[in-house]
């Protein structure tokens, strides 16, 4: 068996041994499974209307009731998970890649570049996230792509700063000095020797970042500034539920619980991953 696979195996058994980690693994697994096979699981068309059956309570036909247009809430919850992951995964992956690159450049490059990049990170962080998102949406209009871009931009500094700190620590370690004295190029040092040592930490950070991203997407959609109707998103469910809160509680419950479950699942998984991968990180947060 090759080495990386056994490491992954070790990490997974470590997570599964921790009760909270196992719970996180189960919740996240369920959400990913539902999102992947949404079209097989949903009993009704998530955007199919049936006006005669509008605003119904839970029943065997409609597990979580229906909304003001007679759409099945349960189907919309399942399909909403797909939208949440469609925003969260590219955003987190993009932010991680860009943050990693910039952070390594800041940590390894000349001092002035480091200062410049740190100022760039601090500037992005100086906007309160939602306010920044609102300003961008106001300018370019709401859409799924805008949400992904905004979310990505706001989390770049987190990854960048951690990648920079890691690079700075590694920079003077003996194996890097040895590489350098043998005349290795900068690209080789950064890509082959430093990258594997930084990626693990960033992956943990990414798992813990996903809940924030899911909440931000849902929040923007709740405000009517995220994904457009009739796309089923958890935030859109909450938006409908809010305007109908005196008629039916089921839309707010149906939109709210999956968000809380998803945040719980990813947080548990992330914390457990962190403890297994790098227990030292525990103190930094």
């Amino acid at each position: 068996m090759s080495k990386p696979r056994s490491e992954l195996h070790l990490i997974l058994t470590g997570v599964a041994r921790d009760p909270l980690g196992l719970m996180g693994l189960i919740i996240v697994g369920t959400i990913v499974f539902c999102a992947l096979f949404a079209s097989w699981i949903t009993p009704h068309d998530p955007i199919g209307m049936n006006i005669q059956d509008r605003l119904q309570g839970p029943s065997l036909t409609y597990l979580l009731g229906t909304d003001q247009l007679g759409r099945d809430t349960f189907s919309r919850v399942i399909a909403g998970g797909q939208v949440a992951l469609k925003v969260a995964l590219p955003a987190v992956f993009g932010a991680m890649t860009i943050g990693l690159t910039l952070g390594m450049i800041a940590g390894y490059g000349p001092k002035w570049l480091d200062n410049l990049l740190m100022l760039f990170f601090d500037t992005i962080r100086s906007f309160p996230t939602v306010m920044f998102a609102l300003a961008v949406v106001a300018l370019v209009g709401p859409s799924l792509q805008t949400v992904v871009l905004v979310v990505m931009a706001t989390s770049i500094p987190t990854y960048g700063r951690v990648a920079r700190t890691q690079t700075l620590t590694l920079r003077n370690s003996e194996f890097i000095l040895a590489e350098r004295s043998m005349g290795a190029s900068m690209a080789r040092i950064l890509g082959v020797h430093m990258l594997p040592n930084i990626v693990g930490v960033l992956a943990v950070l990414a798992a813990m970042d996903i809940p924030t991203v899911i909440a931000l997407e849902a929040g923007l959609s709740f405000l009517g500034l995220g994904v457009k109707p009739p796309t089923p998103s958890w935030g859109a469910l909450l938006k409908d539920g809010y305007s109908l809160i005196r008629q039916t509680p089921w839309l707010v419950v149906g939109g709210g619980l999956p968000i809380i479950l998803a945040t719980l699942g990813f947080t548990f998984l992330g914390e457990s991953l962190r403890d297994v991968v790098d227990p030292k990180l525990r103190k930094q947060r």
Partner: protein, 312 residues
């Protein structure tokens, strides 16, 4: 200390400068006529002409930036597209409502969080400690706007314990209107602060001066309350400073859900009516607020703990 304070505030000013400039350039980078974009389709031709002159759009971009900063330094953020009132006074009118909400949220969540954390640290690995830890994680995970909606559903619509909308009149009524929104915003902070205080408390409890206090025969209660807690509380100060940004974000949602006036409601209403000067003005004010509060937190931290002064 003075040296540190000056450098820290210079950095804060630089960050605000870069952020505002970036926002200015972002508006210019959007394709189309900036006046059209900023004023929206419903602006009168007079207003468009006035803004074109004000922004000096026929001049090079650096002159435009200079004029923009000239106005800004005089406290001029432009005018409301519809009413023609200055944006500065509109934003400053809404700001107190948001600040009131944020302060209320910090007060209740930080005090409860500190109490829980200190208790858990004084009795580590007991049942209560474990329950606090589990509940903390669960609370940290709950996004403010979901909590706001669920508490609106349960406590305002069904149980009718608290009013659902508005800010109320008179002191008691205002406080009554604050309960649910402040609860929603603060809830995730209780767990966060509790975990933070617990961790730093456990660290402090192992230090020499606590051992000395024990050797002097002081009561455990006195050691925890007087000697350990005041040091263990330090990280909370920083976290609250940085947290103002998150609280501002949560406040946006709480204001929408509970139909309260404030910066967030102002921005959302202005986006739907495409009233860009107000959106930009409010974002600018909240960004400045955030940067200043972060800098202040760093200063307080440096004042309490001299070791922190070396890093800017």
């Amino acid at each position: 200390m003075l040296h540190y304070a000056v450098r820290r505030f210079a950095l804060a000013a630089l960050i605000v400068f870069v952020a505002v400039t970036a926002m200015f350039l972002m508006i210019r980078a959007v394709p189309g006529d900036p006046v059209q974009i900023m004023l929206g389709p419903r602006a009168t031709p007079e207003l468009q002409a006035r803004l074109t002159a004000e922004l000096a759009l026929d001049q090079p971009i650096w002159n435009q930036l200079a004029i923009f900063y000239g106005n800004l330094l005089q406290g001029d953020l432009g005018v409301d597209v519809f009413s023609g009132r200055p944006v500065t006074s509109i934003v400053l009118q809404q700001l107190p409502y948001t600040l009131e909400l944020i302060v209320a949220s910090i007060l209740w969540s930080a005090s409860l969080g500190i109490a829980l954390g200190a208790y858990a640290a004084a009795h580590p690995n007991t049942l209560i400690d474990r329950i606090t830890a589990a509940v903390s994680v669960a609370f940290v995970a709950a996004p403010a706007f979901v909590v706001a909606l669920l508490s609106l559903l349960v406590f305002a619509v069904h149980l009718r314990w608290f009013p659902a909308i508005g800010v109320g009149d008179g002191v008691l009524d205002r406080l009554n209107h604050l309960v649910l929104p402040a609860f929603a915003i603060g809830l995730s902070w209780v767990g966060y602060v509790a975990r933070l205080v617990r961790a730093s408390m456990l660290e402090v409890m192992g230090e020499n001066h606590i051992r000395t206090a024990r050797a002097f025969g002081l009561s455990e209660r006195r050691i925890v309350m007087i000697y350990a807690l005041r040091i263990a509380i330090l990280p909370v100060v920083t976290v609250i400073g940085v947290g103002i940004g998150f609280l501002l974000s949560s406040a946006v949602f709480a204001e929408i859900v509970f139909a309260r006036p404030g910066l967030g409601k102002l921005v959302i209403d202005s986006i739907t009516t495409r009233n860009y000067p107000i959106v930009m003005g409010a974002v600018l004010v909240s960004t400045t607020l955030f940067v200043v509060s972060t800098a202040l937190a760093d200063l307080i931290n440096a004042w309490l703990d001299p070791r922190a002064r070396s890093t800017v």
